[in-house]
């Protein structure tokens, strides 16, 4: 039992390795022609798909076992040490698996969604010649993500963190023959690098302060000498900054990158260049929630830094409303869902900001189900429409894709927060906590969130209605070929659909602090979660009403009277342009960062690098080579010369020695 977590973490790795081993399979005749045809790689592809999918499905089963035994079986949190990786005197890094409610929840989310996505991909990637690589990347990603969540220390966590980053990069750029996919992959990687740089500094700061990066050590010290640690300061640009706050803020910046919060979100919509299953797994359900998970994991730290929590709340609220407004006007079905993800992540962060970590984790879990469902549904549509992603070229698909249609409805209802679907419970809890946060400081956040909830309902149902209702707006030829997806694609959507419907009801104990059994810590000074029980009725039901209005509006605008939005857009030209152009963030970065950097880089390259540094380096290299040649010539091959060198060295050495000893 204690080794179940270890096994479930390693399973995807083994699957990926086994899949990778098929590349060693002698390829025989294939080598002569570089053209890889499907028949040649069929068996190897099948093996790779079987090992990866099988291992991840098994991991999902084990994850549920671990989770249920912790929850219902009354099991206790466990901690298994694997091995000591670094032993640098007082500082040790021991790899292992820490399995408490927090990581067990993540196991379930990661492994379940990953298993569904693996099965789904068998159908979705059917025609892709290099699908073997795809499955290996997927499994490798799953392993890295499990490493991240199971880590008992921040070093292992960071390894997983970078591991998922690399896999995300590889999968976004999976279709590397597409220029845009390469660019998107690079963008994701670089934006995350910026965030990770901040995070690394934060980790170093923690290491310096606590002498350890193990959660247990850090939390123990936080509990033991709270006052001293809270008063610790770090000099920064001539000011003295609270060390804890600085570290917490820097780690939050890292989390902002991974979780696509406003400012560092620009990579997420572009990441939709990857295959749709990737978007479902990585850019909706798992990797992008790593930041939320990390902040929950570090709740004892963040509870001591209320100032940082305020920042987290505001950033989250800003992201929620920003992404919701942008989602209203995008035309690419996947981009809309991507902005929706961004917005929902904003909700999770402002839940953390008001110390409602359980609500954030609850929303993370329900969101994983319904957002993965939405993506897979979108994938099913895209698959049926021969890679058409523009919702303005769809319409009336409900007769062609009835099952997908139902799934999209369920997912969107859950997203909009309509009871009894999953999103309702978690989103409501977040909004109530914000409303009731002690001192009322977070009430603006509540209003922003409630407004965003309405927008969510509008854009969520906008894609449903545009794609499935009304008249078909695209190419007739495409429509005549469109067909409902096979069951290998629809099948994996079923468990997710069930999750989107039921997860909120069944998992509602997650919304309480007690359920987490100490994996999450909330200071009683700002226990918004507890206060949320006493939310006044108007605050409680307002978001729901807004959401229903949103759905109604969406029906009116996008199913019934489709010409109204166009008129609206021309009337509200400026807001429309802002939304359509994503608040011009990309343009701003281009102007403020990318272009100046390029100009500077070009200048540096031409004048400093080519003329200055290259000259120096080449000069040094040439000098070294010439020194080598000169020294080489002293090696004459004559024994007498060698002996002479020894004796001379001896004489000089003894001379120096005697001078030292006698002088």
């Amino acid at each position: 039992m204690t080794h179940l977590p270890t096994i479930l973490i390693l399973l995807p790795l083994l699957g990926a390795l086994a899949g990778a081993l098929t590349y060693l399979w002698p390829t025989g005749a294939k080598r002569r022609s570089n053209i890889r045809t499907l028949e040649h790689s069929n068996i190897r592809d099948t093996i790779a798909m079987a090992t990866t999918t099988g291992s991840v499905v098994l991991a999902a089963v084990l994850a549920w076992t671990v989770f249920l035994s912790l929850w219902l079986g009354g099991g206790a949190a466990s901690h298994v040490d694997w091995f000591t990786w670094l032993n640098a005197g007082p500082w040790q890094v021991t790899f292992g698996a820490l399995t408490d409610k927090l990581s067990a929840t993540m196991y379930v989310v990661v492994a379940t969604v990953s298993a569904c996505v693996h099965v789904y991909s068998i159908g979705y990637m059917h025609e892709d010649a290099s699908r073997r690589r795809f499955f290996i990347y997927l499994s490798a990603f799953t392993f890295a993500m499990l490493m991240l969540v199971s880590a008992p220390n921040l070093v292992q966590m960071f390894l997983g963190w970078e591991g998922v980053g690399v896999c995300s990069y590889l999968l976004i750029g999976f279709w590397h023959h597409k220029e845009s996919a390469n660019a998107a992959a690079m963008k994701a990687f670089i934006v995350n690098r910026v965030a990770d740089a901040a995070m690394l500094v934060g980790l170093f700061l923690l290491l310096q302060t606590f002498g350890s990066l193990t959660y247990g050590d850090i939390f123990g010290q936080l509990g033991a000498n709270t006052a001293a640690l809270m008063n610790a300061v770090t000099p920064l640009f001539g000011y003295e900054v609270s060390t804890l706050s600085l570290a917490a803020l820097l780690i939050f910046v890292g989390a902002m990158g991974k979780s696509a919060q406003f400012g560092l979100h620009t990579w997420l919509p572009d990441a939709m260049e990857g295959p749709t299953p990737v978007s479902a797994l990585i850019h909706a359900a798992t990797m992008v929630t790593a930041g939320v998970f990390l902040l929950c994991r570090l709740s004892p730290l963040y509870e001591l830094t209320p100032d940082v929590l305020h920042i987290v709340a505001y950033v989250g609220a800003l992201t929620a409303i920003f992404a919701a407004t942008v989602g209203l006007t995008q035309t690419d079905i996947k981009r809309v869902i991507a902005y929706s993800t961004c917005s929902q992540l904003g909700y999770m962060f402002f839940a953390i900001g008001v110390s409602a970590y359980p609500a954030a984790m609850f929303h993370l879990t329900t969101h994983a189900f319904f957002k993965a469902l939405l993506f897979l549904g979108a994938g099913s549509v895209i698959h049926a429409m021969h890679h058409e992603q523009n919702i303005f070229r769809m319409g009336g698909l409900k007769t062609v894709l009835p099952i997908t249609y139902v799934c999209m409805w369920l997912g969107s209802l859950a997203l909009a927060g309509i009871p009894p679907f999953a999103g309702f419970f978690s989103k409501d809890l977040i909004l109530e906590s914000a409303f009731m946060a002690p001192g009322g400081w977070a009430q603006p956040v509540y209003y922003v969130g409630a407004l965003a909830a309405m927008l969510t309902a509008i854009y969520g149902f906008r894609i449903v209605f545009m794609a499935f209702e009304g008249a078909f707006m695209g190419d007739e030829k495409v429509r005549s070929h469109a067909h409902e997806s096979p069951w290998v694609i629809l099948g994996p959507m079923m468990p997710l659909a069930a999750g989107a419907v039921l997860a909120g009801l069944l998992l509602s104990p997650m919304g309480t602090l007690e359920w987490w059994q100490g994996a999450i810590v909330i200071s009683h000074h700002h226990d918004a979660l507890h206060a949320a029980h006493h939310t006044p009725a108007y605050a409680k039901y307002a978001p729901l009403l807004l959401a229903i209005c949103g759905i109604a509006a969406a029906w009116y605008l996008f199913a019934e009277y489709r010409n109204i939005p166009r008129k609206l857009a021309s009337v509200l030209a400026i807001p429309y342009a802002i939304s359509l152009n994503k608040w011009y963030v990309d343009e701003l970065y281009d102007l403020a960062v990318v272009r100046p950097t390029r100009v500077l880089a070009g200048w540096l390259y031409r004048f400093v690098d080519q003329e200055g540094i290259d000259g120096l380096v080449n000069g040094a290299a040439d000098a070294t080579k010439q020194a080598g040649q000169a020294l080489r010539q002293t090696q004459t091959g004559h024994v007498a010369h060698y002996a002479f060198a020894m004796v001379m060295a001896l004489v000089v050495g003894l001379g120096l020695l005697l001078w030292r000893v006698m002088g």
Binding site: Q633, T636, G637, A640, A643, V647
Partner: protein
């Protein structure tokens, strides 16, 4: 009538022998056998050191050490001569300066 001989005298003698041996190795450009003799000379100078000290300090360790050195030196010389023989077979001479195929 005679100066009494002290350890210092003997150490001086042995040092002279050492330098002779070293100079022999460094300056000899022709015969490998001469180099072997120079090596023996160096060992001899070390032996003189040890024996003399042993005598003056009335300590047996130096004598014992010397016997070991003599034995090892015999083995060393045997190996040396074998290598010289091999060298001669391959090259047809035993001039030390012709051993310069490998250099640089």
């Amino acid at each position: 009538m005679f100066y009494s001989i002290t350890l210092t005298h003997i150490l001086t003698l042995s040092s002279v022998l050492l330098v002779l041996g070293l100079v022999g190795i460094v300056l000899n450009r022709r015969n490998i056998i001469a180099i072997l003799m120079c090596l023996e000379l160096i060992l001899l100078s070390a032996n003189i050191n040890l024996v003399a000290t042993s005598h003056f300090r009335a300590d047996l360790a130096g004598h014992i050490f010397t016997f070991f050195i003599l034995t090892v030196a015999a083995a060393e010389l045997a190996i040396g001569l074998a290598i010289v023989t091999l060298f001669f077979r391959n090259r047809g001479d035993i001039e030390i300066d012709s051993a310069d195929r490998m250099r640089g």
